[in-house]
């Protein structure tokens, strides 16, 4: 066995040619394609990473906005609570004021009602008292009482000054209760003529509003004494007292 240099050289050349061929036909295209694919993958990865980063940024932004919204909502809720509390307090105060005003109005109304009722009751009581007094005094309207009232009237006329007494006029209306009969009228005429003079004309009439009493009704003056006036004064005094 020996080595042929021609064959040895030819095999070496063959191998080198094969190296050249495979470099052109295999390694360069394949490595270029692999590099292209890696670049594409790297680009896709970079884009995916950018998209992921963008999504992360968006997520953070949304989270920040949500936090802001939550804070704003809490602030709004706190403000709403304060506003509701203020409105509730105002409503309570307003209701309390209205209730107080209503109570005051009711109290005033009750007071007015009580006063009106008391006044009406007082009037009724006074009326009853006057009526009762009238009923009690009516049987006393006898000529004796009339004579006593004539004495009182004569005393009051006598107490008048002379110039006043002279200016009373030339007629007088004599109202009595009870009514005077003819003898009593004669006695009254006699006594009054003595005081007023014989020229004065006298006219007698019965007036049950006097209850019991008599009035000398001149043109410009009335001189009288009646239980009606006494009862009226008593009624006024009782009403004031009630």
């Amino acid at each position: 066995m020996h080595l042929d240099p021609w064959t040895l050289a030819l095999q070496a050349v063959n191998f080198l040619v094969l190296v050249w061929l495979l470099r052109r036909l295999l390694y360069q295209p394949v490595t270029a394609m692999v590099a292209q694919r890696q670049a594409l993958v790297a680009k896709d990865f970079a884009e995916a990473k950018a998209a992921r980063d963008q999504a992360e940024q968006a997520r953070l932004e949304i989270a920040r906005r949500l936090d802001g919204i939550a804070g704003e909502r809490q602030q709004q809720m706190a403000a709403a609570r304060l506003e509701i509390e203020a409105e509730r307090r105002q409503a309570l105060e307003r209701t309390a004021a209205e209730a107080a005003a209503a109570a005051e109005a009711q109290r005033r109304s009750l007071e007015e009602d009580r006063r009106v009722v008391a006044a009406a009751l007082g009037d009724h009581v006074v009326d009853l008292a006057v009526d009762l007094a009238g009923r009690l005094l009516a049987p006393l309207g006898t000529p004796v009482v009339a004579a006593a009232m004539l004495d009182v009237l004569c005393q009051r006329l006598a107490a008048l000054p002379p110039e006043r007494l002279g200016s009373l006029g030339d007629s007088v209306e004599i109202a009595t209760m009870p009514a005077l009969d003819a003898p009593a009228q004669g006695m009254w005429r006699e006594r009054l003529t003595g005081l007023l003079g014989p020229e004065i004309a006298m006219d007698f009439l019965a007036d049950d509003s006097l209850v019991t009493g008599a009035e000398l009704r001149f043109a410009g003056m009335i001189v009288g004494f009646s239980w009606r006036d006494g009862l009226a004064q008593a009624k006024t005094a009782m009403t004031v007292a009630i």
Binding site: W6, L8, N14, L18, L21, L25, V30, M33
Partner: protein, 223 residues
């Protein structure tokens, strides 16, 4: 395969150059590899088909073990180491075609490959490190080791040549003896074993070449 002989017959002459069977087989292997590469890479796409995937896997595998050995970018060594692996593997598997003898069973072929590796180591070493620095490496660890380093350069190249040729040739001889003794079916397991042996030998040759080249360019320690 029953024709057991170490000498490769000369088929014809091209001028003064004798053309033996291993040369013709080499041409056939070259044609198959080049044609396969051309067919596989003429329409490369980003979405590879089966054939493109196979080619990319082979290239990626070669790149991977180059990167594992030298720890650098495998592109400068890829054409030489990749072609060594593909060519030796194709030659070792060529006996699967009846009547074909593997060119790697010839010392002409393995010697040529070893010489290519030998010169490539020095060319790359000088280009990478410079003549002075590269040659100074033969004086390491101290000048007394110069003869030993030179002897190592020769013996490792010789070992490359003999290891590949001896393994393939011995496998062919054993297979021929078995065919002669036991007929057609018994050698089939040994032929299957031959596939493994052929791929392993291609891998060993390529790895050793990568180690030598890596040491020459200073990527790894010179052994």
């Amino acid at each position: 395969m029953s024709d057991v002989t170490i000498e490769i017959p000369v088929l014809f002459h091209l001028g003064p150059v004798p053309i033996g069977l291993e040369v013709v087989t080499t041409w056939g292997v070259m044609a198959v590899l080049a044609l396969g590469a051309w067919l596989g890479t003429r329409r490369l796409t980003l979405r590879p088909g089966a054939w493109q995937t196979l080619l990319e896997a082979v290239v990626a595998m070669v790149e991977g073990f180059i990167r594992d050995v030298i720890g650098r970018d495998p592109q400068p060594l890829l054409p030489l180491v990749g072609t060594l692996f593909l060519y030796i593997a194709a030659c070792n598997l060529s006996p699967l075609i009846p009547g074909v003898k593997p060119p790697t069973a010839s010392l002409h072929t393995t010697a040529a490959l070893a010489l290519v590796v030998f010169f490539s180591v020095h060319v790359l070493g000088i280009r990478t490190q410079g003549v002075r620095h590269y040659l100074k490496g033969y004086l390491e660890p101290f000048p007394l080791f110069l003869p030993l380093n030179l002897l190592g350069e020769v013996t490792r190249t010789f070992a490359l040549m003999v290891r590949l040729c001896g393994n393939i040739m011995s496998h062919e001889l054993v297979l021929a003896v078995l065919v002669g003794l036991a007929g057609l079916l018994v050698p089939i397991p040994f032929m299957a074993l031959g596939i493994l042996v052929g791929l392993v030998q291609a891998y060993i040759f390529a790895i050793l070449a990568t180690v030598f080249l890596g040491a020459a360019i200073g990527a790894i320690e010179r052994g």
